[in-house]
């Protein structure tokens, strides 16, 4: 009897926590919402200015035809794949500790994919011509492959977010009642598609969730490889590399896990989810991040060694500017701050605390963005004929659009979690039902979460 009362009280607390952003987002929600929205709006104005005046206002020229936007495209889409893959892999490996963080990882995957894909249009001087990719595609073009791959992956990500959400939408339908407003109630009712939790419904859902978790892994790998091939199938020094596919995939995973750490930490703090998301969650994510970081380090070393050792004229010039030339401060800054330091912070026992692990995540995300710039800029500015290197100008237009895109990610997540539970209630209940598995409140995680 007492156990049942405790269980029911825990369940009520879990529901309160999961619906906190929906029902009581807090008094800082709207100022933050307006602030982030203003940044996005300013970025939209800057894009309008770029449309009117031309791509040169973003620092582009004939001698620097790729720049900050391409780095943003790869970086934002990369973190999206990382978020989805983390959730899918942990789901397939039945890692029960994932339950409280999967919703945030999947939502992050969707929002960052939308933001990243928008750069495919932003970086075009004549964006209306993207229509030609659809009406008269050239099947041999990697750009066409990119459009197809990103579209396919966007649909898969939507399904991957939606399916595990169905039982939770049913909870929202039953719990919130008339206070939710007509539009929101309709959304919950339609979204829940009549979920009652019957065994037949459970079987259907489990089959589909398992299938999409399997499918999204090769999809994510393929899609980011295609994005890499858009670079490596170009005859430019620095890009024409056979390892770019896996190199990009590992980079995406590394930065994606890092951003999951940052996002989970932010929402955990904002909505007081410490009871459900503890140090162990961060430590587990950080271990995965450290392994991926080490693999990325290996790829970087391999790439530098092979191109630097053979020293064909064009490739050698790229290696030279990276290791000792004008890009050297950024490159070594990335190596130390973006790779080595996050690995150390993630693995050393003394720094196994939430704030250190979040710092490692932030460093990895920023470092990987810098790395995408280092992939893009030297090759895009290297001369193919003649000896004159181009240079990219970091103009206010490019910077404002980048800041606006960055702000769009937390803004999008705040909007999503105004409508859906931030914790995956269904999965947490399932995990809780398994003896010995438990969630943060019942195990060591609770004690660690206090730190």
């Amino acid at each position: 009897m007492v156990a049942a009362v405790i269980e029911r009280r825990d369940e009520a607390a879990l529901l309160d926590a999961a619906f906190r952003p929906v029902q009581a987002p807090g008094r800082w929600f709207w100022p933050l919402f307006v602030g982030l929205g203003a940044l996005v709006a300013v970025a939209a104005v800057a894009y309008g200015y770029q449309l009117l005046t031309g791509l040169w206002v973003a620092g582009y020229s004939d001698s620097a035809f790729y720049g900050i936007y391409e780095a943003n495209l790869v970086a934002f889409i990369g973190v999206s794949y990382g978020g989805a893959l983390v959730s899918a892999v942990l789901r397939l490996t039945n890692a029960r500790w994932r339950a409280p963080i999967t919703r945030m990882a999947e939502a992050m995957a969707l929002v960052s994919l939308l933001v990243g894909a928008s750069f495919a249009i932003i970086h075009l001087g004549r964006p209306e011509r993207i229509w030609q990719l659809i009406v008269s595609p050239q099947a041999a073009s990697p750009i066409v492959w990119d459009v197809i791959a990103i579209t396919t992956y966007l649909v898969a990500t939507l399904i991957f977010l939606y399916l595990p959400l169905i039982p939770d939408l049913a909870v929202a339908r039953d719990r919130l009642g008339p206070s939710a407003g007509r539009l929101r109630r309709t959304f919950y009712r339609v979204g829940a598609v009549g979920w009652n939790g019957t065994p037949a419904q459970r079987r259907s859902l489990n089959w589909s969730v398992g299938a999409i978790a399997i499918l999204i892994i090769p999809l994510a790998i393929t899609v980011h490889s295609v994005l890499a091939w858009a670079f490596s199938m170009t005859s430019r020094p620095g890009w024409h590399s056979t390892i770019y596919g896996p190199y990009f995939v590992i980079g995406a995973l590394y930065s994606g896990v890092a951003l999951v750490i940052v996002v989970v930490a932010a929402f955990r703090k904002a909505y007081r989810l410490e009871r459900y998301i503890g140090l162990q969650h961060f430590a587990s994510l950080a271990r995965i991040m450290a392994i991926l970081g080490a693999v990325y380090l290996y790829f970087t070393f391999s790439e530098m060694l092979t191109t630097g050792y053979v020293r064909t004229r064009e490739e050698a010039s790229i290696v030279a500017v990276l290791l000792e030339g004008s890009f050297a401060p950024a490159f070594w800054g990335f190596m130390l701050g973006g790779i080595l330091l996050p690995i150390v912070l993630s693995l050393v026992p003394a720094t196994r605390k939430v704030h250190y692990l979040v710092l490692a995540g932030v460093l990895a995300v920023v470092g990987m963005w810098l790395k995408r710039l280092l992939i893009t800029l030297p090759s895009a500015t290297a001369p193919l004929i003649g000896d004159a290197w181009g240079s990219v100008q970091f103009t206010w237009v490019a910077i404002v659009i980048t800041l606006g895109a960055t702000a769009a990610i937390p803004l999008g997540l705040m909007i999503i979690f105004r409508f859906v539970p931030i914790l995956s209630l269904d999965e947490m209940s399932e995990a809780d039902d398994e003896p010995g598995v438990g969630l943060a409140p019942k195990g060591s995680l609770q004690a660690e979460a206090v730190q």
Binding site: L384, L425, E430
Partner: protein, 208 residues
């Protein structure tokens, strides 16, 4: 009288010395004299492989200039009308600088050669080349792989179709399987429980 003659002799000697000095200085250091402006004559000849050999001859005062660096430029119109450097070449003993140029766009192109010296920058008269059958940048004729070429597109399209089909099946199976009318039966997990849930005291978020 004798003294006056002696003074005149000294003056003449001094004038002679100054004259000889200035004359020898002028002869020994020709660079101090004003150089005539450099002249560049540039043209281009198409080669059998479709590329162009750009040539520029540098002369100054009728004499050819060797070991001088000449820059070739092309006029472009995108991102504003201007001269874009194509590359440099050094003049040989005959004063001729040669550089291979592989245009990547068809049509008429306007080029110049430029020579930068300590006393100024000298451009040749613009000259035009008419390009047809431009070479794609850094590519060579690749061998055609007929089997790969024939199968790549249909195989890729089939894989893409299968992926979309799987996405549709996954989505529809879940939605139809859940929406199909069945007798309500809770599975026992928290989210499926109907009715009001005993609410714990609302924890304020840190945003409050």
């Amino acid at each position: 009288m004798i003294a006056r003659n002696r003074n005149a002799a000294w003056v003449l000697r001094a004038l002679a010395i100054v004259t000889v000095f200035v004359a020898s200085l002028a002869l020994a250091t020709p660079s101090l004299a004003a150089d005539p402006p450099a002249r560049l004559q540039a043209d281009a000849q198409q080669r059998e492989d479709g590329s162009w050999m750009l040539r520029a001859t540098v002369t100054r005062g009728g004499a050819v200039k060797s070991q001088e660096t000449v820059l070739f430029l092309a006029r472009v119109e995108f991102f504003g009308e201007r001269w874009v450097p194509l590359g440099t070449a050094v003049t040989d003993a005959a004063g001729v600088a040669s550089r291979l140029y592989s245009p990547t766009a068809n049509g008429v192109q306007e080029l110049i050669a430029r020579f930068a010296a300590s006393d100024g920058t000298f451009d040749s008269d613009p000259f035009e080349i008419t390009v047809s059958g431009a070479l794609p940048a850094l590519s060579e004729e690749a061998p055609v792989l007929p089997i790969v070429r024939a199968w790549a597109f249909p195989v890729g399209a089939a894989i893409l179709f299968l992926v979309w089909l799987m996405l549709a099946v996954i989505f529809l199976r879940a939605v139809i399987g859940i929406a199909r009318p069945t007798s309500p039966q809770t599975s026992g997990c928290a989210p499926t429980r109907k009715g009001p849930v005993e609410s714990s005291p609302q924890q304020p978020s840190s945003m409050e």
